[in-house]
Symmetry: C2
Subunit: 340 residues, 2 copies
């Protein structure tokens, strides 16, 4: 079994309640400049991580590069959804339903499993109808619709999650190319797709390539620009109301593309800086990965530190059931001082 | 502001996905024997913590010792509910409603705030009725009913959460007596009650006093026996279906009393060992505090290591939306080897 260096995790986020330092989150951060390499890190930039859903923009590369997206006539909105961990709201479910219909498929072609939507309106609709969720509600159903689009284009079989299926072979190839390393292996994700491991700094390097990609740079560059632009243009499709990706991308007005992943991974692509950022909190605490990425986006100059969303995620109050402010979250002083 | 020693937190729990060590939880554990003192610890037993809901059996001492419980004719079930972080199920809400009625009060006398119930059946009932939760659904409403019972007995005012209200003065006195230390202060809990801080080992010492308490030992001993027995006898009232406290106390058949608290605190009272256990995971990850307390209960000999609940919490599989086993949780080798 592969062991990663946990002992090097840095203290990144503090939780305070009244006068007491109640909690601590530790982890790893790597910031990569496309031209000059690693420009900053906390914890262990060599740590091997599973990037989980934070690498969906990489898993979507074959969708564009194979020509499948063009053949299927996918819209920018569909490409954003292919990179999403969505809330299972009516808009997300509806888009997946239409997409599968266009492929001549139904919900049964998905292999992501049923998941109760996090979207309250859609959840309540199902409960009132004494109904349950289907696979289209799964937060990864857009990614899976993308996989099915590639599978159809390649005339490949229906079991598109198998590790040697042409879709996953193409994903692994793209993943290893953009990280610049052979992946040491994979884990099975929440949605049953293989999720390839990489070193944190290699993931940041891949994200920096997305940041630096420009028109006229070839098929890969064009695919990277297309995906990062689609995500930044449709924050509500990449996650949903109330979620960090949606709220922070809206707050930045398209200046950066960000994506969260399970177990507290967070990725950021900052084109104007030609930089990529990869965050992994070792304990899987999402509040901490959100605080860290927010602070870094502020430092990068792409997120106004006074914006209510910036305040809420980076050093916001913690409130209780009566709305009383009982404490706050803050990033470490060391992280707060950093500037690119 | 008070800083606690985070750097001494020990690695206690590992999260694995496929062949990858995906996550780590660190924290502090203190195990106290009533006769011989600290018998084992991981991390920093001197760490100052907010015990949160894990100290509800201490916050309930004035309810019994003042004579309020006797005057109100409280049942053993009500005493268990006074120490609960319940799910807001119909049974919990109904008991609180009746209790408040017996006091001549209504839901409006509570100061805990409204909280959506975690109980699915009750939640769905509210959603289908286009209704919302009230304060009786708050997981702490049993504790607050206890506070109101004490307030009535003392003929004190309605703002029973204020720090200088006779109820909270009595709670603080009891808390400092059983921990054997002056509390360095308090934070405001999720339910708006003051939550007094203490060192982890002092909390374990208090829990050991509950474990060693016997009939004929005076008012405090009797109160401790009454509360630990009420909780162990009614696991479904202390938490609810699906929750660790309920499942593990059922699995132990009354041999130990356990109680979780927010931000990954866990307390255990083991009468046959005359020991108390206090756990605090520094990152607030509940899955980790549950794994640690389960492993210690197994080591203590009060929980069958083969029991499905023991397996589920201490080293259970992690499954995804399709039920596929994607990884597992495990306690550190060092913790797994420990025997009392």
């Amino acid at each position: 079994m592969m062991e990663r260096a946990n002992t090097d995790a840095a203290e990144l986020v503090e939780i305070w309640r009244g006068p007491f330092h109640e909690g601590t989150h530790r982890g790893h951060v790597a910031i990569w400049h496309h031209d000059t390499g690693l420009v900053a890190s906390w914890g262990d930039a060599e740590a091997v991580i599973l990037p989980r859903s934070a690498c969906k923009m990489i898993q979507a590369l074959p969708l564009i590069e194979s020509g499948a997206a063009r053949e299927a006539g996918l819209s920018e909105r569909q490409l954003a959804l292919a990179c999403a961990s969505h809330q299972g709201a009516a808009v997300h479910r509806g888009m997946v339903e239409d997409w599968l219909g266009d492929l001549g498929l139904g919900e049964g072609a998905l292999r992501c499993g049923c998941q109760w939507p996090n979207d309250i309106e859609e959840r309540d609709r199902l409960i009132r109808a004494h109904d349950g969720p289907n696979q289209m509600h799964n937060n990864c159903s857009g990614k899976h619709s993308g996989f099915l689009t590639v599978a159809k284009h390649l005339n490949a079989g229906p079991e598109y999650l198998e590790i040697d299926h042409p879709v996953q072979v193409a994903v692994r190839t793209a993943f290893e190319e953009v990280t610049g390393e052979d992946s040491p292996g994979y884990g099975i994700d929440g949605c049953s797709a293989p999720n390839f491991a990489t070193r944190l700094k290699a993931f940041a390097k891949a994200l920096a390539a997305y940041a630096a990609a420009g028109a006229g740079g070839g098929v890969r560059d064009e695919a990277m620009v297309t995906l990062r632009t689609a995500m930044a243009a449709h924050p509500e499709l990449v996650a949903g109301e109330g979620r960090a990706c949606t709220r922070l991308m809206r707050a930045m007005g398209g200046r950066a593309t960000i994506k969260t992943g399970a177990e507290a991974v967070f990725a950021a692509i900052i084109p104007e800086r030609r930089m990529g950022v990869a965050v992994k909190i070792e304990d899987g605490g999402t509040r901490a990965s959100e605080a860290v990425i927010t602070q870094i986006l502020i430092a990068m100059g792409v997120l106004d530190p006074e914006h209510p969303e910036a305040v809420a995620f980076a050093h916001g109050p913690i409130r209780n059931w009566r709305g009383i402010e009982t404490g706050f979250i803050k990033v470490s002083d060391d992280l707060a001082r950093w500037r690119p």
